[in-house]
């Protein structure tokens, strides 16, 4: 179903972090951007569609001052809003927002880091753009920071802080089907496996909270009102967002899941884990009957690699890209 293409070499190897690959397709310029985190650096590659041109850029984590220790980056993700696209980078010290090509930093938000380190680690993790003008970022305390993004410029403001989670945020996802009918358009998950479903707005509204079973949820997606969540146990669970009803449970992987992605136009689902497998599934959702169907389509084994990022490169799921711990390349697969 899929075959391996030529890999893209990156300047550093990928670190073992959840959701450690972000992809932005720029159709007008026939380019795709990829970002992969390595310790305190974000490696950006811009790849032309004809496969002839690759350009690289590296972004460092911002330090509040020179004397403090290096800040490790937890995640880098592209945020696509109707008016603009941003690259958001979260670290131990705070949140940086860049123009999508990484050329200019437009915003910096510092986290409250204590003078001497505490037993509870401090960092930001979990990034998503939601509705017209918001970017949501999670924090180790469990808080979700909601930033209001103007259509251009750097006048970004912190609009709201959502305090519902008790454990560190692991991932955040916005409704990606493009449908305006979905009531719920944001889901946030944490280290205890709890899921919160929200409706965005001037004041975000909590629609539902699904209690965790003490198994960390490392990656989540929201599509057609359906939450798809990946867990440390290797399971994928599918819930109806608003009601919280469990619709499906898949014993998908033998180790911790690190990344999930959905191709919104086709319903293809991608899951990747430390067990070295990437799996492709087909998801179909019938909102009228509240039913869900899941079919397994394909496996790729990336030999001897603990996978840390996997993303579709386009909305149909025609191609996908994979990163692995200690690997200095982005492996690509396309449909045959």
């Amino acid at each position: 179903m899929f075959h391996k293409e030529k890999s893209i070499q990156i300047k550093n190897s990928a670190s073992a972090l959840y959701n450690n690959l972000s992809v932005l397709r720029i159709a007008p310029r026939r380019l795709t951007y990829f970002t992969v985190v390595h310790a305190n650096v974000v490696n950006m590659v811009s790849a032309s569609w004809d496969g002839l041109n690759y350009s690289h850029r590296q972004l460092q984590s911002k330090e509040p001052n020179v004397a403090t220790s290096t800040s490790l980056i937890m995640q880098a993700a592209f945020c696509v809003l109707p008016s603009r696209e941003l690259l958001v980078v979260t670290s131990q010290k705070g949140i940086q927002m860049y123009e999508s090509d990484g050329s200019i930093m437009v915003y910096w938000h510092a986290l409250d880091t204590p003078e001497t380190p505490t037993a509870q680690a401090v960092f930001a993790r979990g990034i998503a753009a939601v509705s017209e003008n918001y970017v949501c970022v999670g924090v180790s305390s469990g808080a979700i920071l909601v930033f209001d993004i103007p259509s251009k410029g750097s006048n970004i403001t912190l609009s709201e802080v959502l305090e519902e989670h008790k454990e560190s945020i692991t991932d955040i996802a916005a409704e990606c089907s493009g449908s305006q009918e979905c009531v719920a358009n944001l889901v946030t998950v944490d280290d205890g496996g709890s899921l919160c479903v929200w409706k965005s707005g001037e004041e975000f509204q909590l629609l539902n909270k699904i209690a965790g079973l003490d198994i960390s949820c490392s990656s989540v997606k929201l599509w057609k009102g359906t939450v798809v969540a990946g867990y440390g146990s290797g399971q994928i669970r599918i819930y109806e967002a608003v009601t919280g009803i469990l619709q499906s449970e898949i014993n998908a992987h033998a180790r911790w899941i690190y990344s999930l992605d959905i191709a919104p136009f086709s319903g293809l689902l991608l899951s990747a884990a430390e067990d070295s497998f990437v799996r492709v599934w087909h998801l179909s959702v019938t909102p009228e009957t509240n039913s869900v169907e899941v079919a397994h389509l394909h496996n790729e084994c990336v030999t001897d690699t603990q996978i840390c990022g996997a993303k579709f490169c386009d909305g149909d799921g025609y191609a996908f890209a994979v990163t692995g711990y200690d690997l200095s390349e982005i492996i690509r697969y396309t449909q045959t």
């Binding site: 670190s15 290096t70 499906s248």
Partner: protein, 385 residues
């Protein structure tokens, strides 16, 4: 990232160091007493183990490690572990220490990488501690220190969630990133590939609490299972085995962290480096904070005893005399650059180290009085090491 990594790093790296030293010291053991020059007796061997373990598990040192703090650079780790090794009568020259460090780190990297569940990092640590306890079973005072530390670890790490352990593991994996030193024992046992990367099997038991992959279940709105179907997982997994014990004593079940080295295979500690740049080549810009840590940790270790009357004890850590000769003359495709590690009683080195150690202790006392100039002094001192 995680602020709880340091105790686990030292105990596991220290544990690996002790396994290697123990194997090499035993391989050298050709005399029953220490009357023969250049030979390590049983008594000397036990003394070395007791000295190192005693320091590693001393209350002062452990308390320092248990404070929440960031994981620091390889340079700092290496310095403290060298100091640890030198709290005994044994001396290792910088080249030996370098090789020893690579071996320790690759072993621990392997264990962390293959760790089935993040929480099993504790079982790996406890495997090391069980073995350490065995090394000092004839010295109750030190054995008690080990037990005391074990109790503290249980207290500190028991409340951590699986998610927090994974963060700890991810922090360690960043620390080990890009290290692909080939170790002949790992290559022989096929746990490492010729390119230096570890093998990951797609078979065997799933971690405790997990399910064998291959099943899709669908549920009705009322929660009843309405269908189930299987899919090919691409691997051959089996159900989880029983969980290991997290208590002071018990069957850990997990084999990661037990002693991989035996008397019969001296070549197992050969290493060879790939030609790519080692991560340590990057200058460490956070030096000042790390040096403060270093000062505190070194200050909590007892000063090095300087032996001026005894003769020198030459210890080849990584090759017998015969192998040393052969390695020098053998031609052909040589996969491994075997470096003969010279561990010896070096009076000059001991004096130098004693001076440095004393200075660290002094520095700690004067800590509050001086400002940034102290950081610069320590920096200068580090450059000399």
């Amino acid at each position: 990232m995680s602020t709880r990594t340091l105790p686990l790093v030292f105990i596991n790296l220290g544990g690996e160091m002790l396994y290697i030293l123990d194997q090499r010291l035993q391989a050298q053991n050709t005399s029953v007493d220490n009357t023969e020059k250049g030979v390590w007796s049983e008594k000397d061997r036990k003394r070395v183990m007791n000295d190192i373990i005693g320091t590693m598990f001393s209350k002062a040192f452990m308390d320092e490690l248990l404070k929440p703090q960031q994981l620091y650079s390889h340079k700092t780790m290496k310095t403290v572990l060298t100091r640890l090794a030198h709290t005994s009568i044994m001396r290792l020259n910088p080249a030996s220490m370098e090789k020893l460090y690579e071996l320790m780190v690759m072993a621990f990297k392997y264990q962390v990488y293959l760790c089935p569940r993040p929480k099993d990092l504790l079982l790996i640590t406890y495997n090391h501690m069980d073995a350490i306890r065995e090394f000092v079973r004839d010295t109750p005072a030190v054995a008690n220190q080990v037990d005391e530390t074990h109790r503290k670890l249980i207290e500190v790490y028991a409340p951590l969630s699986e998610g927090e352990f994974q963060l700890l593991r991810q922090t360690l994996l960043i620390f080990f990133q890009d290290m692909h030193v080939r170790v002949s024992l790992f290559l022989k046992n096929q746990i490492q590939n010729p390119n230096g990367r570890f093998t990951l099997t797609t078979s065997g038991p799933v971690p405790h609490g997990g399910d064998v992959p291959g099943l899709i279940r669908l549920f009705s709105v009322k929660g009843r299972e309405v269908s189930r179907c299987e899919f090919p997982s691409g691997g051959s997994y089996s159900s989880a085995v029983r969980e290991g014990s997290f208590d002071l004593h018990g069957d850990r079940v997990l084999r990661l962290g037990v002693n991989m080295y035996t008397m019969n295979h001296p070549e197992e500690t050969h290493t060879s480096r790939n030609t790519c740049a080692q991560p340590d080549d990057v200058p460490n810009l956070l030096a000042k904070e790390e040096l403060n840590l270093l000062a505190r940790i070194m200050g909590s270790m007892k000063t090095v005893p300087v032996h001026t009357t005894e003769g020198s004890f030459r210890l080849n850590l990584f090759a017998s005399d015969r192998e040393e000769e052969e390695a020098g003359t053998s031609g052909g495709a040589q996969d491994f650059d075997v470096i003969n590690i010279q561990a010896m009683q070096d009076e000059q080195a001991s004096a130098e180290l004693a001076r440095i150690a004393a200075q660290f202790a002094e520095e700690e006392l004067k800590h509050e009085d001086q400002g940034s100039s102290k950081g610069d002094e320590l920096l200068a001192m580090m450059d000399d090491l």
